[in-house]
């Protein structure tokens, strides 16, 4: 079964079935980094859930430890307290359970685009002819047809980002973690990519945890938004985004959307100011 077929099958099972354990449950995650004498607390009792087939976003001021949370979920860093469960199984500190898209595309320059996109499958097991055909099908679908044999440096930033997204999408793991994937792009490319991601996700309905500090982006894409406080990060608010799917891009002009955006922006502004107030003078 190709991933596109999988997606179609899963489509019918949406909205998420409550009897299935959530794709991700992070419970009571705390983390402090210790330097010689001082200790910097970055995460304070974070609890969040991503159900199967849900798109969940985390927004928060920059430098609030969102990426650290991803490193904990990905098993790169061990939390001081708390557990990470996926599909009901405790996977705290274990690597290889998520598919991941970092801030920069981090494509491997010596691999062709096709081989880059297949990297996570290669790491997880073997790449057969079917996987290659599937990769080509998706490359074509995301507008990278004809670039299969190209090397990453020949592609524009937006195209590289799409290839990095595809690499995450074609990973065998259920949960996709996207860490501010569009932050390095210019505004125009960024809004293009948001629309692109919205369409693609509504078709594939993977479980997604998405970090951003762009409120509009979060509202447009997510089922649920966790608003993080400044450092040490804790969950300030949980917002369920009520807009029905499939969403069109013009919902950003809907009064409810504007209202929600204003509310979220207010919280974010307060947090950002608090962070700046706390910053020690040098």
């Amino acid at each position: 079964m190709t991933i596109s077929e999988q997606a179609r099958v899963e489509d019918r099972s949406i909205p998420s079935q409550p009897e299935l354990p959530p794709a991700l449950e992070a419970a009571g995650i705390s983390k402090a980094f210790r330097a010689k004498r001082s200790s910097l607390k970055v995460l304070d009792d974070i609890t969040l859930t991503v159900n199967k087939g849900e798109f969940v976003s985390i927004v928060g001021p920059s430098g609030s430890g969102k990426s650290t949370l991803f490193h904990i979920i990905g098993g790169l860093v061990k939390p001081d307290a708390g557990t990470v469960r996926m599909n009901g199984k405790d996977v705290t500190g274990e690597q290889g359970h998520i598919s991941y898209m970092p801030q920069q595309p981090a494509l491997f320059p010596w691999r062709t685009i096709e081989d880059n996109v297949l990297l996570s499958q290669e790491v997880q097991g073997r790449v057969d002819q079917e996987a290659r055909e599937n990769a080509r099908y998706w490359l074509d679908k995301v507008g990278l047809g004809g670039f299969e044999k190209a090397h990453p440096h020949t592609l524009s930033g937006g195209m590289q980002q799409r290839a990095a997204f595809l690499r995450a999408l074609l990973s065998p793991q259920e949960l996709m973690c996207l860490d501010e994937p569009f932050s390095a792009l210019d505004a125009l490319t960024r809004s293009d990519m948001q629309r692109w991601l919205l369409n693609l996700w509504e078709e594939s309905r993977r479980s997604v945890l998405f970090i951003t500090h762009n409120i509009e982006e979060a509202l447009l894409l997510s089922n649920r938004i966790y608003v993080f406080s400044g450092r040490p990060a804790s969950v300030l608010q949980v917002v369920d985004v009520p807009f029905p799917r499939p969403r069109r891009e013009d919902i950003i002009e809907h009064p409810d959307f504007i209202q929600l955006r204003r509310e979220l922006s207010g919280w974010m502004r307060d947090e950002q100011q608090k962070m700046q107030g706390h910053r020690p003078l040098k």
């Binding site: 490193h71 981090a106 790491v123």
Partner: protein, 253 residues
């Protein structure tokens, strides 16, 4: 093509100019042949190949290649071992640097005493000069793996050998090659020194013979051959690099 030509002509003209001045000086000031031969004399000697020049050259080429390959392999293997076992690295790294501070000229005669006049001591000399740049460049390249890509590999559950084969090694390739390029030119020098000290063939031996006979012109021929051989080795490795590291974005300089 035009660009290539614009890069090439200035050094070519400079070299030609230098040769002409040299030729004029030797004939104008009547400099004796055994003090400074003219470029024309040197060219003539090269063409004649006196004193079994080409036989000696061939021996040096063979010795250089053998020593270079062994030295490079030793450097690579050593770098990999030290990279994988950090304790060994901290223990042996200072010794590696020390090994480069012992003058080859002093070490080579000792090696002759211990291992005789055969191939082995010569290969050891070349290996000693070749392995260091390769080992240092390789360790540096392996250490400087891109953090972002490394994190990515770990997150998706890649094990150590996958990280090494799919990320660290290809990432280190350009820097490994810069080490090998240095080793390629050093290997020629190492071979000549080894022959100088104890051999019955090779350019180093040829130079000793010609020096004893005050054949300065032939010594210049030998120097020219050594330079050409070094350039050739460098060029071959550069070609190999170009072929293996095709993915590297072209740098405008």
């Amino acid at each position: 093509m035009r660009r290539w030509w614009s890069l090439v002509w200035p050094p070519v003209v400079a070299v030609l100019f230098f040769l002409i001045v040299w030729q004029l000086c030797t004939s104008l000031f009547h400099i004796e042949d055994w003090i400074l031969p003219s470029p024309a004399d040197i060219a003539k000697q090269t063409a004649e190949g006196g004193g079994d020049l080409w036989g000696h050259a061939l021996a040096t080429v063979r010795l250089t290649l053998e020593g270079f390959i062994i030295g490079t392999l030793v450097g690579l293997v050593l770098a990999l071992i030290l990279h994988l076992i950090p304790f060994l690295k901290s223990a042996l790294y200072p010794l590696l640097i020390l090994s480069q501070n012992i003058p080859t000229i002093a070490l080579a005669p000792l090696l002759m005493i211990w291992f005789g006049f055969g191939l082995l001591p010569k290969l050891i000399v070349i290996t000693l000069v070749c392995f260091f740049p390769v080992a240092v460049a390789t360790m540096g390249g392996l250490k400087q793996t891109d953090r972002m890509m490394l994190n990515y590999m770990r997150m998706i559950g890649a094990n150590k050998s996958q990280i090494f084969a799919k990320l660290e090694l290809p990432h280190a390739l350009p820097s490994i090659f810069s080490g090998i390029k240095i080793a390629a030119t050093y290997s020629v020098m190492g071979a000549v020194i080894a022959e100088w000290i104890g051999a019955d063939k090779g350019i180093g031996y040829y130079m000793m013979l010609q020096k004893a006979g005050y054949r300065t012109d032939r010594m210049f021929v030998a120097i020219m051959l050594i330079v050409a051989l070094s350039l050739l080795m460098f060029g071959l490795i550069a070609l190999l690099e170009k072929w293996l590291v095709r993915w590297k974005p072209k740098q405008e300089s």
